[in-house]
Amino acid sequence: MPEIPEISAGDTAWVLVCTALVLLMTPGLAFFYGGMVRMKSVLNMMMMSFGAMGLVAILWVLYGYSMAFGNSIGGNGLLGDPTEYFGLAGITADSVSGAIPTFVFVMFQCMFAIITVALISGAIADRTKFGSWMIFAALWATIVYFPVAHWVFAFSDEESGYVGGWIANNLGALDFAGGTAVHINAGAAGLALALVLGKRIGFGKTPFRPHNLPFVMLGAALLWFGWFGFNAGSALAANGTAAVAFLNTVVCTAAAMLAWLLVEKIRDGHATSLGAASGIVAGLVAITPACAAVNIVGAIAIGVVAGALCALAVGLKYKLGYDDSLDVVGVHLVGGLVGTLMIGLVATDAYIAESALGLFYGGGAELLGKQAIAAGAVLAFSFILTAIIAFAIEKTIGFRSSEEDELSGVDLANHGESAYEFNDAAYGGSFSKGSGSSVNVTAPSKEGAPA
């Protein structure tokens, strides 16, 4: 009789909570991004995140989980078998992964797939057809994210004969919570999309000022909160590793925010709220791969470098002429690279005894080399395939909104809504024929508007 693996109630409770926390990051991201765009495209910006929540969750349970965590096809670590757990076949409430029910692990990883897709949308603000975005999201999740998640997150298990992904096992690079699979992946995809879709009308000439900075700060706060689930939850247990990840998620993020503000104060004369929110996200991105590999010295170092470097990198788009509207490249690609590569320098066994050592802690350059290969492979794979997918969509059904829709605002064009009603005199209108209440509203008022 096979041994029945034991479920830990504590671990299960913790990862369930973390799963919900990671889901919350995506609406948080929607606020973070939504506040940064102009008033006429905030709904479209937020809907690209919400759309990913709907779509990717379904794809994940249909075949995404199987592509990421099924047995590696041919044992080469490139792609999980999509048929193995198709429709979550064979998994029941009694299935166990580690010390938690498999369904909990399935959902925890589902949230990673959702937010990675949502992150990309920041590169194409103000000018995207919603339907084309949804098709892109489905193709990108399938062709880019699910395989890369397999490379990075699927760990082989000799006992059961399970073969996972090449970065996690053959290469042995460290990526605790997704610096490569999530952030470098989304950042490279954002760059490719921004290049294929082209610049917004008026880019570099017309100011695209954020329309609601409190939204941006609310989003950054929700992201930080949810990120505890992302990083500390990646321990998949309520244990010391989760505690280390949690600690570093605070320390690195704090350092990055301060570094970003310092750069701004010196360069521009003011420490801005947008800079604080951006620094927080840069720090969270950078500590993601490293949160279980470093001590607080390493976390502060990564935070300072990420905060300062990202603050400088967001200006590159104006010099190089690509319209990565909300700096997916400057924050997620650059931050992800900083965190992934700096593991090779500052990884230490100070907190977690079995951890690999970086260059500064006597581990030599080997780990740094592995980190660079992992980062480079994900970057190149994501960039090239994203460019192909985006180009195919643009040439067939069209990816970018018409000039007219872009100028009048993609909210109205894509969703038939406008976000705000500030002018009471212009409020009201009347129901169109055949819609709204069955009563013919002839004197429109606030009470007559659809609830």
Partner: protein
């Protein structure tokens, strides 16, 4: 009858209102406005990108007065809105042909 229109700095609105009321007038209309004179705008920096904001927030105050009170009202507004800084705004006076009080149908100075 005169229509006095004043464009002033928003934070001076309360002072101007009080000053106009002190002259003895009972009505005025206030709206938010954007614009610039010699003041031009200011610069804002977002993620390192510097934008010049040309149009700065102002309030526009409109007051209807009998001819003999117009000068006093203008003086009151100018006195209250003055900070000595660039961007304090402008006040101008135009002649009004007729005024009607909607509730009663009164016309001319009766309606003021």
């Amino acid at each position: 009858m005169k229509l006095i229109t004043a464009i002033v700095k928003p934070f001076k609105l309360e002072d101007v209102k009080n000053a106009v009321e002190a002259v003895g007038l009972e009505g005025l209309t206030v709206s938010e406005a954007s614009g610039h004179g010699r003041q031009r705008g200011h610069t804002e920096v977002y993620r390192g990108a510097e934008y010049t904001v040309d149009l700065v927030p102002k309030v526009r105050i409109e007051v209807l007065t009998p001819d003999d009170q117009a000068d006093a009202v203008v003086d009151a507004i100018v006195g209250a809105a003055n900070t000595g800084q660039i961007g304090d705004g402008k006040v101008w006076v135009t002649t009004v042909d007729d005024v009607v009080r909607v509730r009663t149908g009164e016309r001319g100075e009766e309606a003021l």
